[in-house]
Subunit: 209 residues, 2 copies
């Protein structure tokens, strides 16, 4: 399997965490977002969305969308499980991952910020947009996580929710988004010592700058 990604792409990072949690080794192929490598014809032939990550299976099958890829890996390698067992807890874990993957990340990613710049907005406004979106999302995330038992997002081991949360926190730091998030910060501290999260970190990737 080939994971097409980029060290700083938070959606690629989610998949790297899941791979590391499951102990699955893949070939990693980097596509430099700032240089527009995800918009080249050969990449668009793989994923017409022109977005990372893509998981290319050995038979050439192309999987897109980080959360769909994550659940595919969970279907294939059920241990350790990526989601809690009970239907309600599964729904909560998926909801936290989707809060981040739907309502935060796509509204503050490179594609949207580039569009804002093209509409005449300067650096401060563009970064302010990203920081607002991240802060509002993580504020809600903190409140929701307060309803569930820790120490990870859901219980004693990482789930899809933690795999989505940790990369988003890197973007929060990058854009200066801050809030009163004790539960989130406790999870971040815990994951900072977890081997899978250490291996998947942006700074640990071959294409890191």
């Amino acid at each position: 399997m080939i994971l097409h990604g980029y060290f700083r792409s938070t959606s690629s990072w989610r998949v790297r965490i899941v791979l590391a949690l499951k102990g699955i080794t893949v070939e990693q192929r980097a596509h430099h977002l700032r240089r527009g490598e995800h918009q080249r014809p050969d990449f668009l032939a793989l994923n017409p969305q022109g977005q990372l990550p893509v998981l290319e299976l050995d038979d050439g099958t192309v999987l897109t969308q980080s959360l769909a890829i994550a659940e595919y890996l969970d279907d294939l390698h059920p241990e350790p499980p990526l989601l809690p067992a009970a239907p309600v807890a599964r729904a909560h874990a998926r909801a936290i991952a989707q809060l981040i993957a739907c309502d935060i990340h796509p509204v503050q990613n490179l594609r949207v910020l580039t569009r804002l710049r093209a509409m005449g907005h300067g650096d401060a406004e563009v970064k302010g947009w990203a920081a607002d979106v991240i802060r509002e999302g993580l504020d809600a995330c903190e409140t929701l996580l307060g309803r569930y038992e820790g120490p990870y997002c859901f219980g004693a081991s990482p789930t899809l929710a933690d795999a989505a949360l940790i990369p988003q926190l890197a973007n929060a730091r990058r854009f200066g988004a801050e809030g009163d998030w004790p539960r989130i910060h406790a999870i971040t501290a815990l994951c900072a010592d977890h081997p899978a999260f250490i291996a998947a970190d942006a700074s640990a990737q071959p294409d890191a700058e």
Copy 2:
């Protein structure tokens, strides 16, 4: 169970389709988005994101995020299945749903368009933003769907992908987003005759205007 939604909210609409496909009856409670009813303290106490839909279970448990709610309903009522059986096909179906729920809808929803207006953009620019985002997303969706066998998004019956696609097409019409989408239009025509999609349509809801 109570579904907190709004007739025109495409994410609420996805859940209505899934409920209708499964033959599950719930109480529906409408929250008028344009009047800001989703920002009232009593609704924020349910969902700190202040977003629709919310599924409130009989014991008071609150589920958020439409795709997580949809998979919860599928866990509880497995027939008819909401996803194909094979892991790769499941991943494809989830990816189509996520392309729409992550990369189209949150970037063109009321929250973002309101923010653009507050930044000084007029009606034409704001609607142009929404139309661009929808067109780009559905262009990619059409190409991806061309890889999979129909007549629905995935085979002979509707899945989570169709439940995400049909409401998004209503937003495409609303914002004047058009493209060369024969596969999408064939699916739309098919769903227009399907009882579950007819029952879940925005125009069929008690709060429709």
